[in-house]
Amino acid sequence: MWCMSRQFLIFLIAISCCAEAAHAKRPQKQAMVETDSRFAIEVQSVLAKAGCNAGTCHGNFNGKGGFRLSLRGQDPSDDHQWITRDHAGRRINLMDPAESLLLAKPTGRVSHQGGRRFDEDSLEYQILFNWIACGAPAEADEDARLESIDVLPLDVVVRDPADSVNISVLARYSDGSSRDVTSLAVYEPSSLDVEVTADGTVIRKKYGESTVVVRYLQKQVPVRVAFVPRVKGQRRIQYPESANYVDEHVFTKLKELGIKPSSLASDEVFVRRVFLDAIGVLPTADEARAFISNDSPTKRVDLIDTLLSRDEFAEFWALKWSDVLRNEEKVLDVKGVEVYHDWILQSMKENKPIDQFVRELLLGRGSTFENPPANFWRSVRTPIARSETTARLFLGVRLGCAKCHNHPFDRWTQDDYYDWTSFFARIDYEWEEKRRDKFDKNEFVGDQVVKITDEGEVKNARTGVNAQPRFLGLHQFADVKATGTDQRIEELAAWITSADNKFFVKSQVNRIWFHLMGRGLVEPVDDFRLTNPASHPALLNALADRFVSSKFDLRALARDILISNAYQIGSDINETNQNDELNYSRVVMKRYQAEVLLDAQCQTIGRPAKFNGYPEGMRAVQLPGDRKVRRREASPADGDLFLEAFGKPERLLACECERSDETTLNQVFILCADDGMVDRLADPNNLLKQLADSDMSNRAIVDEVFLSALSRFPMDSERGVAVAMLNHAQGKEVDSEYRSVTDQYLDDEVDRWVVLQDIVWALINSKEYVFRH
């Protein structure tokens, strides 16, 4: 009787007969609800809203409790089968809809591991009930499809005292109709700073900026919400002047958000930061002293220009590229690693345009020993590894999810994935199979020839049919001749590195920004995604334009970033910037990376670390590969172990995310009591010994080691403690103010050198030393 038409009215009271238990408690809601019974639109939206088809529940590849749905409802016809046919059809009961497991489980009437998902008086219940009552029809060809969703607002600043904002969602269908689906859409906030109710109200938990992804069926839209506190004097905040376009974008946004940035970094903080960020090297005491005492108004820009032209700039970037290009010995051989690193280093030294650099990598072929960029293909051995790595590194897109199902957080479908992957099917290797361990298929010894073949296809896992080359994001297939020997890769290289390819340009710009600023405009850097918008989209565009107009000049872009006042911002905290993580209102603090920290320590102490297989004196940043000498051949040297513990990547993932900047207790043990550190500090050939044996005053020595470690002179209290200890060690008079300190902490036999070691240990272990600030 109900199902005379596909659209109908039902009376809530009719449903309640089937659900007596819930009846008594039911609030007096609307008496009538209009729903319809279309599976692909109505039923699927309920299954999403209630979380049934989430990856942790029935959307899991293996289902849950014997019931499987496609992930987030991407495959309505499959889902219809599972619901209506599987489990002997017991999930639905056409005669008595309320007895359907599909309703009994989520309402908790029958035990459900996933708990109670909705009530019997909910819209969700009504929709499922009606659909079953109508005979549980499948999607019909004539059913309207969802075309798009309009979400409002898309970007909103909410000022105190307001502490919430409503999102509304309008669905537009192929038949021209539209409808408010606010209460059926799914809301996923990016952080715990906000909470979103089922009907789209975003509630502030903390001030700051968050993204809420709004999803309805297969359409997703990110909404940026910033909750801004009202702080006295906010309107009168003085912003640093803009040094260039970078600042205009950054400070405009800070103004909009009412955030007062930290004051600009002092000369002392700046010189240390810019050395370590730009070239990965600590300024020496002399360099720091010269910079601080220089009174030229252009000294910061002058220093930046000097650093950009130093060889260490190229060495530092060769390290960054080697990390993500998987330059490691097991697959590339020790020799391959060295020639590859040399080639990358040379490219960085001559400031090869980045588009050309990438093109040479993609077109690399022939002997990997003779023609180093061919190692790019040697390192990724299957079409899938090549396609995912290429997308990630050069387009900033993580495609992996779309291998097994449509990407849940982006627009990539499985077809997109396999069509893209088919570009990478025609690469092969010629090599003499010799292995150190015949069972180890992950190791390749000796030279290899990367060659392009004229056959090889990739099968689309969804259709079982060979995919055809299609560029990401384009609808038509690429114009490549099926028989042309290397047509696919050439077309691919041209398309990827084109100045018109926004994916390419933006992802490269973002990576450079990330390495200098400590956080990508898109973060993670290789995760450009519909649902992961840039913190400053206009700035990203401006940097991209600049990169193109400078002909992909790494140093030019780095210079723009470094000379900005946004780069030079300090770390002091105020009421408005304390919760800001996105807007560069204070410096991005993080532990310096393994190589930089170790090199800095060695420079401060004046003794090098040891790396197996490399000559003494080589800096960690200069190491070409992961590890030249295997563990089974020799136990790792102190430098190797330090790098491992502080997160140097093994270079297997082609991802910046492989490098870790976390801190661990184990790292502190290494800094406190490991051989490497203990021996270097106590090495009679180190700088400290020279200082201790010199006739410099204790005060001058303390100044020297502070400048060399922290690029600043000691404060009075620091100098007081350090000089007092050194004086005590030499049997000299100790300033009465510090006598209690020397009494308490110098109860053992010490001399000047021993105390100096302790002072330098303390400097190296200070937070100022270890953390970018």
Partner: protein, 474 residues
């Protein structure tokens, strides 16, 4: 002395991952909230765990002792004997009755047979990985490797060890490391994946060491000051460091910096005096207790596991051996193919079975006597079983298709058998269990929802376990 091999698991940084968004975390707040005994060390982890664990489950076991039998023990010759099978299947060893009627075990384990009423056997564990490294990773992580690779390459996209997942989701709040593993890095040609925290981050690595607990001089480098560095000198260094740190607001403004600073307190306490040192001090055990566990690396490792859980460690992993073994009667793992005239039935009666017979019942009894048994889960398992049919070397090869896992502790049904194998022990007959399910069962016992998601380095959500075998719980 190199400390780098020691892995400490306590996490304080990576606040984003922890869900602690603000970098402003005042030190005093951290200390207050974490409790003085903890020095606030676990606060972010506790907050994070609260957010990450989907639904709190009943905690059936407070801790786990995971005894990993590297090489693959034979199910048919130990806990799933087939006396009625043909001779080439049942083998030369005979069953004896145990205290549980209808649950015979190998004649060479008469002592163990008296403890079968304290254990639960799952006789239907199965998977398809026939190589040690791929199967070992599967058994240590509960996740199927991407391929059945004999030299499966360890990388950060493989799953973490159980103990690391526990540390990430439900860390110990006792001031002790959550997870400790020893006394070997296991390998077969290359290092077997699944022994560390992988993509969860080094901060969740098990506290790991390779020192031999059976060594008279057994002690850990992390618990000993290097020569030339006295306690008073270390304190002096710390004092100067703190003087420098006071000059900037970094400790106030960065959670990562604060966390790093707290590690110094902890490291110095451990290097000088700490309850952690005492937990690792086997000399505090009486001679008779030490003898009862057996004066072997495995025996003393198991004794140490009891000391560790007693002092608050939540997940202890003991590796039986460093190598797959099989060619020696006094060392190595369970991989007895009979190669080069080293026959299985000469090796296991002389080596593996006597050690197991001495140590395993002792551990169970000791746990009982100390009141630890009821809330401890003991897991005894290898990466696979061995071929039902005896090979031409009068030994057995790899058999992942069906094998037995032994569980013990108050939370599991006592003297209970779950699942069964066919008449030759070749395939599961009823209630097959995968390593994913076994992982889920361990997490479930600890009150961790096996459907909890963890995130890979590229933020892909992965579920930690399969379907828990809830029927085995008492």
């Amino acid at each position: 002395m190199n400390l780098v091999n020691g892995k400490f698991p306590i996490q304080l940084s990576r606040h984003q991952q922890l869900g602690v968004q603000s970098s402003v975390l005042h030190r005093r707040d951290a200390i207050r909230a974490g409790g003085a005994g903890l020095l606030g060390l676990n606060l972010p982890k506790i907050l994070a765990a609260r957010d990450k664990v989907k639904t709190p489950l009943v905690q059936r076991a407070k801790r786990v002792i995971f005894l990993f039998q590297w090489g693959g023990p034979s199910h048919i010759d130990m806990f799933d004997m087939k006396p009625n099978a043909p001779e080439e299947v049942r083998g030369p060893l005979k069953p004896i009755q145990s205290v549980v009627p209808g649950l015979p075990i190998c004649e060479l384990m008469p002592r163990m047979s008296k403890y079968m009423d304290q254990v639960c056997l799952i006789r239907s564990v199965h998977h398809t990985m026939t190589n040690h490294n791929s199967a070992g990773y599967y058994a240590l992580s509960g996740h199927e490797p991407p391929s059945n690779d004999q030299r499966l390459r360890d990388s950060l996209d493989l799953y973490p060890a159980y103990g690391s997942v526990v540390d990430y989701l439900s860390p110990a709040t006792t001031g002790m490391p959550t997870s400790v593993s020893y006394p070997y890095t296991i390998r077969d040609g290359s290092i077997t994946p699944g022994q560390h925290a992988s993509f969860l981050g080094k901060a969740h690595d098990p506290f790991f060491f390779e020192n031999d607990p059976n060594d008279d001089a057994f002690t850990l480098p992390q618990l000993r000051l290097p020569s030339g560095l006295s306690a008073s000198r270390l304190n002096r260094r710390r004092f100067i460091q703190q003087t420098i740190d006071k000059q900037t607001a970094l400790l106030e403004s960065s959670g990562a910096a604060q966390g790093f600073d707290l590690y110094y307190d902890r490291a110095i306490r451990m290097l000088t005096s700490d309850k952690v040192r005492s937990a690792f001090d086997l000399t505090q055990e009486s001679e008779s207790v030490r003898e009862s566990y057996g004066r072997t690396t495995y025996g003393q490792s198991c004794l140490l596991s009891r000391r560790l859980i007693e002092s608050g460690v939540k997940f202890v992993t003991v590796y039986f051996s460093n190598s797959i073994g099989g060619r020696s009667i006094d060392k190595g793992g369970w991989d007895t193919h009979g190669f080069d005239d080293t026959r299985m039935f000469e090796i296991i009666p002389k080596y593996h079975l006597p050690i197991t017979e001495q140590t395993l019942p002792t551990l169970l009894e000791d746990l009982q006597q100390r009141g630890l048994y009821d809330d401890t889960l003991v897991v005894w398992m290898g990466e696979f079983g061995r071929t039902p049919k005896i090979n031409k070397n009068v030994s057995r090869d790899h058999w992942p298709q069906c094998y037995t896992v032994l569980l013990a502790g108050g939370c599991v049904k006592q003297g209970y058998v779950y699942g069964s194998s066919d008449s030759h022990g070749a395939t599961p007959d009823e209630n097959p269990v995968t390593p994913e399910d076994l992982a889920a069962t361990i997490y479930y016992a600890l009150g961790i929802d096996p459907a909890t998601e963890i995130y890979t380095r590229d933020d892909r959500p992965l579920v930690i376990g399969g379907d828990p075998v809830t029927e085995i719980f008492a």
